[in-house]
Symmetry: C2
């Protein structure tokens, strides 16, 4: 319970202070970097029950198998001893082979940023928050809901840079469909590399995109190919095609990224009742089988390559088939996923999710239930931490700001409770007679400005004052905040030579036609 | 992790089922009785740090003391060896005396209802939810915010009866200021005794009200004075006048209730920065000193009398002095309070709180942060579980329904994850080829109706359907639900002889003038 394990940046404790050793002076939120878990994870199943899930998933791998839709991948698997038949996509795995293969997974590693102060530790007790990724739509209170586009994309990326609690972008915060698919990754990734100084993600949609993403990350850091390969600087999410399928772009993504020691996050999309059994335990069995197969594959490509176990199991509304998020079932799946990851010694990726259509009470409670589960479940790398709405179909500017507030509250919850003699306050208690108050005591005056978390959104005015102020909802307050933060955005410094190299690379790759769109 | 410790009523597992042995048939939510904690509590301080808080609070009691504003109470304390000086309200306690005295506190006991199926176990792993209590105002979407009155009081009491997740009322869900203070307790408590079959609370506002409350509880149960004294059937909240003061009505309340073996919940109102030190640790020291003094007093009145340790420490907004709730600081205080209660072996009362002025995202996230803390903190008896708004100044009909949904989600989260072979679903996984789906499998068809929690409020329709449906927010949905539930209310059966006795008692006490109003 010492300061050492909490990871709040040293230096002045609160907003308004300046983090020690940070490159951006006067940024108000530098204490929200390098967060660490403080509470022992909550187990949702017993050790025996965990073994049952684990063993059932190994039975899936051994008896039913996974389709690997790439011949080169199957050749790697065959060479390693998996049960591969010529011309057949289905691959089966001896249970011992799986367990032996994943032994080389590192339990903790660093995702490097072009600003070393923004490096992210992944695994162990570390907790990092990535922005919402991949919605086809975005929305804000004035503009309404609209298809993703480059301007909104850039604005959301800028907002990701504004908050230190956001460790990095998690992909494209909205899909800019006004950019042609062949060159979208070039524009988007070079934008992210310039507009933020944080690490980023490349989609696995054909090997060219992985390669371009790695080159952009390398150039942005101004490092050699050798250093890039020694220091993971890019990550990719691989969502297996549940049930039990890894397609060509996914396998290419793993081969490209793992072979160069970059980070793969293997996340089966196992919605109980749709792409997975209707029971949470059954969905977990399938999630685990798919995750283990993909994780093992990364280690066959390159033993020791950094890999993350992704849990995304939730349930569907059985009346409509619509996905549900932030439910009690989701919470249990998150806790169980954490238990599996700790068993395997692999970092754990999970998400801050909800299925609300607007920034109302539902959006908030489903999100906080998600945050509860991922905090108590020991999640290490949290996708969709800020901005996700409608089960991921929309990136909301207001929800982004609201989520940053929620994440900061989680970070504050994870700071230690100061029980030093001065904090115990016996002198203060002695100073105040029964029936008195503490507003004017020396103990209070010394601390009142920094004593408590000062929220972004929460409105604590009394009803009368709040009514006179126009009765703003949290949604309306968040609307004002994101506009102010966007207006205050400043581009982080970049060496002009690096920027020139980056632009030249993008121009060349565009001239070459970008990447194929027939993946 | 067996069913045994989860407390969901046996019988059909889900909504639509009928709880076994329950008196009201076809009530859809009977599985939400007798909830139990499942997760090990999360410690926010180390054992050493807990000792520091504990020791500092004993120093407060030993060196600074607590004002006991009742001569008879001081006589009891003096006889027991406390440091009491004639004519002086300040009482100091030897630290060993406090620890010896609280040894007789029972760690677990039953609060009896007139319907034995509604008895509440308090302490140990038990978790019970009481409705919002004591706001001066109430509000709903159509009627707006208004002063409390008898009609709204009755409607909120009826709603408390509608949901099984609500273990009992927690006081008056809104203060009916249209009833004269001298007879308000008679009307309100006889209303609650008739309109619900759940246990209830009497305010400690002069000894006559405690006595009337106990008599109403006894008559409603149709039991003798002896049985009443053997079976705790009423509870009272004692909020010490922080800092360090227990006034006359509070001490009378303890003496009346504890001497007859009824339940006292001793809850200091320690807002850090206002009535307690600005540090959370300091506020906890003061909370603990006040709680221990009051709890010790209950045991001097009657060793073994049922008593609950109440934690209510939160922070204020230091810019305005307004109380804040559901904050990170509140969460830590809730966890630390749980650690203290487990140390002393005394049941723990805490609350579901927020400071929002409307049923928006803030109301939801502050509430779920509270629920997170009280679940991970091992709270046993939760006040203000449903309906609280504006830091307790308003009882909201919509928030009541929304909170019932949140509480039910917590209850579902506390059910075990079924890992039986059928739930692991290997046969289902075998049935579905890669690329397929589970919608039509036998495994799904057998379970889909009851597989997942079906929420009261959450709207999982896609954006288009939701928009066509008028884009309802959670607030609007809750508005429709409470009206429907109120319309569906049915009064629980009561023996006519008991009702007659109850009415006669109330009539007689009214004729006698009720209770003094100069407390």
């Amino acid at each position: 319970m010492s300061d050492e394990v909490t990871g709040r940046t040293a230096g002045p404790r609160r907003r308004g202070g300046r983090g020690s050793g940070t490159v951006r002076a006067a940024l108000s939120t530098t204490q929200y970097r390098s967060l660490k878990h403080r509470f022992p994870p909550s187990p949702v199943v017993s050790e025996d029950e965990l073994e049952s899930i684990h063993n059932a998933s190994l039975t899936v791998l051994e008896e039913m198998g996974i389709d690997f839709m790439h011949e080169g991948a199957r050749a790697i698997l065959k060479k390693a001893g998996a049960d591969v038949k010529d011309g057949v996509e289905r691959v089966r795995f001896d249970r011992n082979m799986i367990m032996e293969t994943i032994k080389t997974c590192p339990s903790e590693f660093t995702l490097h940023a072009r600003n070393p102060e923004r490096n992210i530790r992944i695994g162990g007790k570390n907790l990092a928050f990535a922005q919402v990724a991949s919605p086809p739509n975005c929305s804000d209170m004035q503009g309404g809901r609209r298809a993703g586009n480059q301007q909104d994309f850039r604005n959301l990326v800028k907002l990701a840079q504004r908050y230190d609690i956001i460790s990095c972008t998690g992909g494209y915060p909205v899909e800019p469909v006004d950019l042609h698919a062949s060159i979208r990754h070039l524009d988007c990734l070079s934008d992210i590399a310039k507009l933020t100084d944080k690490p980023f993600h490349a989609y696995s949609l054909g090997k060219e995109r992985n390669r371009d993403g790695m080159e952009i990350a390398r150039i942005a850091r101004g490092i050699s190919h050798e250093q890039f390969e020694a220091e993971p600087s890019l990550f990719t999410i691989i969502n297996s095609n549940s049930p039990r399928r890894l397609d060509t772009p996914m396998l290419q993504g793993i081969m490209e990224m793992s072979s160069r020691n970059q980070i793969v996050m293997l996340t089966p999309f196992t919605l109980a009742g749709a792409m997975a059994p209707v029971t949470i335990a059954g969905a977990l069995v399938q999630q685990n089988a798919e995750a283990l197969a993909g994780i093992a594959f990364t280690q066959l490509v390159r033993p020791g390559a950094p890999v993350v176990y992704g849990g995304f199991t939730s349930n569907v509304d059985m009346k409509t088939g619509a996905p549900a998020f932030g439910t009690p079932e989701y919470m249990k799946a998150v806790l169980a996923g954490g238990q599996l990851c700790r068993k395997y010694g692999v970092p754990y990726r999970t998400s801050n999710v909800n299925a609300a259509n607007t920034v109302d009470a539902q959006a908030a409670y489903e999100s906080v239930f998600s945050l509860w589960a991922l905090t108590q479940g020991g999640g290490n790398f949290i996708m969709h931490s800020a901005g996700w709405l409608e089960g991921g179909l929309t990136a909301s500017f207001e929800k982004f700001v609201l989520d940053c507030d929620l994440l900061q509250m989680v970070a504050e919850f994870l700071t230690p409770l100061d029980t030093s003699p001065a904090a115990l306050g016996l002198d203060a208690i002695r100073d105040v007679e029964p029936g008195g108050h503490y507003f004017g005591t020396a103990h209070t005056l010394e601390r009142f400005e920094t004593a408590f978390y000062s929220p972004i959104i929460s409105d604590w005015r009394n009803f009368e004052t709040w009514s006179e102020g126009g009765s703003p909802t949290a949604y309306q307050k968040a609307n004002a905040v994101w506009q102010k933060e966007l207006a205050a955005y400043e581009r982080p410094a970049m060496d002009p030579a690096i920027e020139e190299e980056l632009d030249a690379f993008v121009a060349r790759r565009k001239a070459e036609g970008g990447a194929p769109t027939d993946f």
